[in-house]
């Protein structure tokens, strides 16, 4: 994934002939909602090597403290678990073509995930556009006993084009095939026990993004839209999934000084329910009997029901050049600091959340 992001970052500014610079980034995240708190430190290193080769590596830890009610258990007890993730990327650039590969492994007590993938980027139209293709495969092992498996096959294609010196657009399509255990191993459905979900799920996401810069204002605006749809595979009866979702995001960037920039963003997300899902929560107008007597599939996972979320965020980026003459802190003068605060509004039982992020990125 990092290879793809690196490519997208450098796409418009330079030919796809490797990254613009070597860079190390450290980032910290604090996420807090009613019953869950996540603290996540992470570090990422990117380095160009001779002969058009570039490499990258990242490592992160999620410290997740949660009241188990949020996970579906019957009693509200507090527990903390750790998710550790490491990933590596390597790429090789030939003129306007870049091929890349990545490996990533994530480990937590009840979820192991390994992902591998390949990417191909081709600069077109005098390098003002790029066609990018990705394929990946993920193998997950899930559950308190780590006895369930999920395979994820991924393919994507996108096209990014500079339309004018101040206008850029991207369109893309992704397909994911989930095959295996997709339930939450802790959620229980009234009258039936642990939830049961279809084994196969074909997921589609189409994305369009537009960015426009206004030189006279020192400001820019971005508009993103994602259409998501999924369906079952090989189901003999009616499609159990059929979940449709829309995501819209607006971002406003404003350069406040030569070294200080602010970004304001708003994201709206809405989805319908998976076809097999019904609301068993009496508190929200549902019924514990809604699944009938002999359902094939049943779940109380709120993210499979109809929902809406709103996310509002403000972010400030400061190029730390002013520290150049400050003793000791002068080491940081070549980099940039990020600080952001977001509010995530959910109409599910998870409740609203605070999201605080900070980062420092240093080219070397």
């Amino acid at each position: 994934m990092s290879a793809r992001l690196v490519l997208l970052a450098t796409l418009l500014a330079a030919p796809p002939s490797g990254r613009a610079e070597d860079r190390v980034t450290v980032r910290g995240v604090y996420y807090r909602e009613t019953s869950t708190r996540v603290v996540q430190p992470m570090v990422k290193l990117e380095k160009d090597l001779p002969a058009g080769v570039d490499v990258g590596a990242h490592f992160l830890v999620d410290a997740i403290t949660s009241a188990s009610v949020a996970a579906g258990a019957l009693q509200d007890t507090l527990f903390t678990e750790y998710r550790k993730e490491a990933g590596f990327t390597v790429g090789k650039t030939f003129d306007r073509t870049r091929i890349g590969a990545f490996y990533r492994h994530s480990r937590e007590p009840d979820f192991l995930a390994t992902d591998v993938g390949l990417s191909l980027a081709q600069g077109v139209w005098d390098n003002t556009g790029t066609v990018l293709a990705n394929v990946a495969y993920g193998s997950d092992t899930v559950g308190p006993m780590l006895d369930q498996h999920l395979a994820v096959t991924f393919g994507s294609l996108s096209y990014l084009q500079a339309l004018s010196p101040t206008l850029a657009a991207q369109v893309g399509y992704e397909a994911l095939l989930y095959d295996g255990y997709q339930a939450n191993p802790y959620l229980r459905v009234p009258n039936f026990g642990y939830e049961s979900l279809p084994k196969k799920r074909m997921r589609h996401a189409a994305v369009a993004r537009l960015a426009h810069y206004l030189p006279t204002l020192g400001a820019g605006v971005q508009l993103h839209y994602r259409l998501y749809y999924d369906h079952g595979v090989g189901e003999e009866e009616s499609d159990p999934w059929n979940l449709l979702a829309h995501t819209v995001e607006l971002r406003l960037h404003k350069e406040l000084t030569s070294t200080l920039e602010a970004r304001f963003s708003y994201r709206f997300y809405t989805q319908g329910a998976a076809a097999f899902w019904c609301n068993t929560s009496v508190l929200t107008g549902g019924s514990t009997e809604c699944y009938g007597l002999t359902p094939h599939y049943y779940s109380v996972d709120p993210k499979l029901g109809p929902m809406r979320t709103h996310t509002a965020e403000v972010k400030v980026t400061w190029e730390a050049r002013a520290l150049r003459t400050v003793p000791l802190l002068g080491w940081f003068a070549g980099g940039a600091f990020d600080l952001s605060y977001g509010r995530y509004f959910q109409n599910t039982r998870y409740g609203n959340a605070h999201v605080l992020q900070t980062a420092y990125s240093l080219p070397f």
Binding site: T25, D126, L157, A162, L163, L304
Partner: protein, 72 residues
């Protein structure tokens, strides 16, 4: 659907690859390198997609997904 998207995107690329002059010359790319013009969110985007993927039913659209749950 994947094949349809493939044909559509390659068609768009083919249009761009034609003999028409490019819309942006190399010396006109200064504004395109501004933060406001980049769609890449780096590690920040990685966290956002992990968060939204653990709380919302939709997934994908912004790069390779996966990397564990962290949501139980």
């Amino acid at each position: 659907m994947f094949r349809l998207a493939l044909v559509a995107l390659l068609g768009l690329a083919a249009i761009g690859c034609g003999h028409r002059p490019p819309p942006v010359r190399p010396w006109q790319r200064a504004y395109l390198s501004k933060r406001a013009m980049l769609f890449d969110d780096g590690l920040e985007g990685r966290f956002r997609q992990h968060l939204f993927g653990s709380r919302e039913g939709a997934e994908g659209g912004y790069g390779v997904v996966g990397g564990g749950c962290g949501c139980n």
